[in-house]
Subunit: 513 residues, 2 copies
């Protein structure tokens, strides 16, 4: 519980306040000034930690098709028995101690580099959908055109600090090649930080080489310029694609988000405490792996837990039980001293309707109050992650604007308390024209760019559009006015050259099979 | 931070758990097992309390057209100067000490009586809209038929614990009479607790007399059976209609919700801390009034704060600044030791679209985590409170289901921790068929009754309906299948007789003018 003090000046500081607000708006990530919400006592968190240690000691994790990873675990002090890796109590925790509690991921535009870890919050768009949907075109397989559009729209959204990764699957490109086009698109059409390929170790290497062209080899030695999503095969299993990619990134000091992706009741027991226990164990095994590869390599503790429909067994979102898991995991990550990833704007809805918005907000609010540092899927997610929604991206990105003021907390400066104003104002006299209101009005309230707050009559006369219709007009207009950030021609042509060579090699590789 | 312990039994307690869950579902209000979210330190809260005391001492409150209220304040120890009432430091707080921290409002069906105050939460529907909207009929003036429909739908919603008050204004009835029909409708078509009329002291008296017919005069002497909404005329003003009604209710030991209704920047300074200071001062003056009328009369500390559009000055909802005020006021109410009312499912949207749902959820989440005890406007609110939405009522009431599991916190019993299950399960083996999952699945997750979680293909083949279309079908069906709760014929005819006599008297009163 920290309140802001003296951040803003006295009554005459209107222009200062306005300038400060602008600066905040242009800060490429958020800073949380308030304490996170807690749902468990220290004692409760300790019990979960002890149980996770027991799980790692007795059950351990299974490593699929990756003898190299087994060697790394063995050398790191774990007990390797066939393909099973077990951990003496406390081993993971002591190894993870070497990971940074916060790190900066560089963007090719240095003004857009992001700090990942407490007390900061970074928003990134939806990741992974094979489909897209928009109001006019409906639902369809995603293409590289869609990918490019979503990168552009993310670039234009002030609340999205990060370009993300697989904002949608460009299904019109060959599987072997599409990672090259995805990485290139992030670099070419945005200057925000981005995510790397993880579907095979060679694709992680391609990501690294492209990043080296942009940032220079030396930069990568000292700083992460790529962050990548490494998912566990829950329960308690890690596969070669994921560990292989993690190894490539960790060796080069690049950041990995280690995320058990859990549908509770299927990949873990059905209760929140047990899901938290297993998530902690799996994430610790993954984060320890990265540290064994290279001590100090930046890692993010990820947690993705969803609930199930009691009727159909389908995954459900915006429900209270995953929120309890999120609050618990955030507290466990803080105790472990590593940045935390979870939450987003999640929904099972097919369209950007009231269901989508309720479920998204019911995921986002715990994300914000829980103290999540890296928020993947912060905008654009529909249909349980199968669909990237154009309008949903606009609507979600707009709602992310709530985060800044909420996380800044109550301004307890003299200007915030406004005691003189309160004492000088006679009963019944409104404050609309008061000095204090005039000085503060421009920065007093967050206002949505998509919401309609006008009178019914005005709204009706302007067409009576609902939110999704307004969002459609917004992204159409944004794509029309989009201008790419500058990119050095030499770098661009080097990137294109690299892609051409790699694509040729991949085709030959395929032909020789 | 309190976690649940041992609430549920071991692995073999599936039927017990199911039964417990059913009992929870049928409990007529919620109980919060987790600590509320705090945004200010104790020191910060003390500063606001001191400033509110200064405001009451130096500025005080203006009492409009109510000499009787001035007498009550004078006798209670306040300094009365003309129509201005000022309070020595600490006076209000010490007087409010006599108010109960929690009380039970009786319902005519005793199984539906609600506990108002920590650690409980009670949900009531929207209050006050002159218009209604539904998908088929569009937006129109509300009638007594709409009022009856909304009372019936509220009666049928398990998540709505309270029948509310002016669920919409029955604009087809004469202003002088409609309070009689509203109170009668709550009694006749629901057996949940309800709210009384506050638009004039005589209407409050009518409410009391009708309640006496239902509950018996003696019951009212010992228990509140009516709760009523007393709004301040902010800034720092109370009028005769509100104080007169409050006096009628407090004299008879009936409950009042004392609510400064504040559009920050207009009725208060624009900052959260100053809005909180003024809200505290105004609410204390109102709650002290009730205690001066009758020490121990149940009061609820209310706060309704909204922000403004930076573009148009229109009120906005679901924004972060009112959430900060809510968290602050909830903490101040806890320190004062009285139940707290705030929040709801608020929106400025004209229709039940994504905007409506985002804004509603962004109000509801702080309502739940902040520790609000009585939640008015928990379902059905549209267009800044001008419209009661049929579909919105269904959608909101459904979302209120999130509250129970969220406020129960993490189950840390042996069953919740599921350590044996975790240790017995080999890596890679899913938990779908495990003993623990089977034992717990039926009660593990809250599932929405309105959300569609099915596959895209199934959703499409079933018509591809959005949430509002599904909600429309639900309320239509509910009204068709509605059956009124039993009401003693004698009571019903006494109520009708009373209304007839009062209506005749009111008509004569009008004719004689």
């Amino acid at each position: 519980m920290t309140e802001r003090r003296g951040r803003r000046g006295g009554g005459r500081s209107a222009r200062h306040a306005a300038r400060a607000a602008q600066a905040i708006e242009h800060q490429p990530f958020l800073t949380r000034d308030v304490a996170p919400h807690e749902v468990l006592s220290e004692e409760g968190l300790e019990i979960i930690e002890q149980n996770a240690d027991l799980l790692l000691e007795r059950v351990g994790v299974e490593i699929v098709d990756d003898p190299g990873a087994l060697d790394i675990y063995r050398r790191g002090g774990a007990e390797v028995d066939g393909t099973r890796v077990r951990f003496p109590p406390g081993l993971c925790r002591s190894i993870i101690d070497g990971a940074p509690s916060r790190f900066v991921q560089l963007a090719r535009n240095p003004a857009r580099s992001v700090a990942i870890g407490d007390p900061h919050v970074v928003f990134a768009p939806v990741y992974g959908p094979p489909f897209v949907r928009d109001l006019e075109g409906g639902r369809r397989y995603a293409t590289i055109d869609d990918f490019r559009n979503l990168v552009k729209l993310t670039f234009l959204a002030p609340s999205l600090h990060h370009s993300g990764g697989t904002v949608c699957e460009p299904t019109d490109l060959p599987v072997e090649e599409r990672h090259l086009d995805m990485v290139y698109t992030h670099i070419r059409y945005s200057d925000k930080p981005f995510m790397g390929s993880v579907t095979a170790p060679e694709r992680a290497k391609d990501t690294i080489e492209m990043a080296e062209i942009v940032f220079g080899r030396d930069t990568l030695q000292s700083s992460p310029v790529v962050i990548s999503l490494i998912n566990a095969n829950s329960p308690m299993t890690w596969d070669a694609a994921m560990l292989g990619s993690a190894r490539v990134y960790a060796e080069r000091g690049q950041a990995c988000i280690i995320t058990p992706f859990i549908l509770a009741g299927a990949m873990s027991p059905v209760t929140a405490a047990a899901t938290a226990t297993q998530t902690l164990a799996e994430a610790m095994a993954g984060m320890a792996f990265c540290q064994m590869v290279r001590s100090g390599a930046p890692v993010v503790f990820g947690s993705f837990a969803s609930s199930m429909s009691m009727q159909s067994g389908a995954p459900t979102f915006g429900t209270p039980e995953p929120a309890l898991v999120l609050f618990t995991m955030a507290a466990l990550a803080r105790r472990l001293g590593v940045p935390f990833r979870s939450g987003g704007n999640l929904t099972a809805s097919k369209v950007a309707d009231a269901q989508a918005a309720y479920e998204s907000a019911m995921t986002l609010y715990p994300t914000l109050l829980g103290g999540v540092n890296f928020v993947l899927h912060a905008a654009g997610w529909l249909e349980g992650g199968l669909v990237a929604g154009y309008e949903k991206l606009i609507l979600d990105a707009d709602q992310l604007g709530v985060a800044g003021p909420l996380l800044s907390g109550v301004d307890m400066s003299d200007n915030g308390l406004a005691l003189d104003t309160l004492l000088d104002n006679p009963p019944g006299h409104h404050h609309l024209g008061s000095r204090h209101t005039l000085d503060n009005f421009a920065t007093a309230f967050w206002t949505s760019d998509v919401a309609d707050n006008s009178s019914f009559e005005q709204w009706r006369d302007e067409g009576g559009h609902d939110a999704v219709t307004r969002a459609h007009a917004i992204w159409r207009q944004q794509l029309r006015s989009y201008e790419p950030p500058p990119l050095d021609d030499r770098i661009d042509s080097e990137l294109r050259g690299f892609m051409e060579r790699r694509k040729s090699a991949l085709i030959e590789g395929n032909e020789s099979r």
